[in-house]
Amino acid sequence: MEENKVSDVTLSPELFEKLDDSEKNAEKIAYESSTYLQDAWKRFKQNKLALIGLIFLLIMLVLSIVVPMISPYTYDGQDMTLQHAGMSMEHLLGTDKFGRDMLVRIMYGGRISLAVGFAAAVISLFVGVVYGAISGYCGGKVDMVMMRIVDAMYSIPDMLYVIMVVVAMGANFFSIMIGVCLTFWMDMARQVRSQVMTLKEQEFSLAAFVLGASKSRILFKHLIINSMGPIIVTVTMIVPRAIFYEAFLSFLGIGIAAPQASWGTLANDAKGLVSTYPMEVIWPVLAICLTMLSLNFIGDGLGDALDPKKK
């Protein structure tokens, strides 16, 4: 029995000690596996500016929903005895030329401005993704024609046709949204197209094809899902620009009509008063600038966080 001659020691149970449960995994060096989203969140949190931006945006969202609901004043409630009042306990940010409470008006304006921003982003997302995906996936002549249309529209300053559309349709929430979307879906389409064009050449797409997946399944279940990162970043970048366009239009006097008000309208109403009541300009201006700044920070942060190569 040569092969069993390991040692002369006789093994008995007493020689062994039962291991503590906690030591069972002592050999494991891998840390807990995390999903893509958990990774992204971890990277996002490391970017202090992006985090501050996110917190600010959330506060702004909550305030603009809650303040008009709980405030004793309404956005169009006039008080002719209190015109251009300064900051006080009754009116935290003062009142405007009709004695309307500035805080409520700014937060109410925030609802409209943010709504325009997010609605424009969502619409551009759907139109742009479908257009870009089809163009990138079909390639060839289809792609050429579809992209020429985008190029042609791109070479005209977008503000010109946004103004045209709003003037033609009349200034209201809907026409501003349509006008703004007319420009932003193109960014999204270009982004998605270039993503789809690189991804469709990769092996997983070929594998899906070999397994018999239909074209639309490959496109929507594989290619678009895999380009989600850049798509989300583009969406976050669209929101501040849409808010800017709305403010620009309102500033030209073709924005949301009185007594309703967006941040742009508020700045426009007060711009004649810069030398007499500058604070009435400063509040809406600050609201727009800080919101756009935080959205840009969030976009930058997301761009880094959602890029799997930057692990």
Partner: protein, 307 residues
């Protein structure tokens, strides 16, 4: 080269044609006609006005007349009360030089500021320089130009009284509107310059120039900057477009009688024929500029292969 230029010009012409058609049909669908605001007492006067503006013809006929007028350089007349009957081309010709002067100043500020900031951010060894430049760049894309203009007026014009803010009479008048107009391009150019500078400094020819004993400053100016400028030249077209549309609000904030002011008052007075005229004029200008920028960058950069 010739073929490339020809192709770009043809695409530009087609785009402009589409723009003119689109504005025509949009304005046709807009409620209200040019004569509805006029108080025309008699039926004959109404008829005469209808004939004058070709409103008695069908829409396709009006379209043909309109396009052939545009081709002959006739962009219609203003309908606003105080400029009524003046030719759109005259109004544009009078106001555009003002905008062009302001735009040129802003253009120079944007180039100098943007390239300076971007180069400093790329080359400086100190971290705070880089952070500062990138902070300015982020502010630049986040703060709308007209809001910056308002803030500047409040702080520099009203509170401190250091700069004038009405009209464009003295050189000091240019400072605030031109800076406001240039802020966004400064931010974009700074980002472009920084990233392309970082890229260029890694190239072999920079190392070669350095190893041959060329002073660092000379390498940066003669070799690196020259090559890093390519993306900035391509951006010149979009920047031009941005400044033109940006001038709409900047001019109205600073009461500058430029083309932006003409556009804004046309919009506020619903002067459709002026809106169309300015749109087509600005569209043509921007398309031309884009083509020039493309040709320029193709001519400078031997790596761009012309197809």
């Amino acid at each position: 080269m010739f073929k490339y230029v020809f192709k770009r010009v043809m695409v530009g012409v087609v785009t402009l044609f589409l723009l003119a058609s689109a504005t025509f049909f949009l304005m046709k669908f807009t409620p209200g006609s040019p004569i509805s605001s006029e108080r025309l007492k008699t039926e004959e006067a109404r008829q005469a006005a209808m004939e004058k503006y070709h409103l008695d013809k069908s829409i396709p006929e009006q379209y043909v007349i309109y396009i052939s007028n545009v081709l002959r350089g006739d962009l219609g007349e203003s309908m606003t009360a105080n400029t009524k009957g003046q030719k759109a081309t005259d109004l544009i010709g009078k106001s555009f030089p003002v905008t062009a002067r302001l735009g040129t100043v802003a253009f120079i500020i944007a180039l100098v500021g943007g390239i300076g900031l971007g180069t400093a951010a790329a080359l400086s060894k100190r971290k705070w320089v880089n952070n500062l430049c990138m902070f300015v760049a982020t502010i630049g894309v986040s703060v709308p130009s007209f809001l910056l203009a308002l803030l500047m007026i409040i702080v520099l014009g009203v509170w401190l009284h250091v700069l004038p803010f009405i009209g464009l009479k003295t050189p000091a008048n240019y400072i605030m509107p031109a800076t406001a107009l240039a802020l966004y391009p400064i931010a974009t150019i700074a980002r472009l310059t920084r990233s392309s500078m970082l890229e260029v400094m890694k190239q072999d020819y920079i190392i070669l120039a350095r190893s041959k004993g060329t002073p660092y400053k000379m390498v940066v100016i003669k070799h690196a900057l020259k090559n890093a400028m390519l993306p900035v030249i391509t951006y010149a077209g979009p920047m031009f477009a941005f400044m033109l549309t940006g001038s709409f609000v900047i001019e109205s904030v600073f009461s500058i009688p430029g083309i932006g002011q003409v556009m804004v008052s046309s919009i506020q007075n619903r002067d459709y024929s002026m809106i169309m005229a300015v749109t087509i004029f600005l569209g043509a200008l921007v398309i031309t500029f884009n083509i020039l920028a493309d040709i320029l960058s193709a001519a400078i950069d031997p790596r761009i292969k012309l197809k």
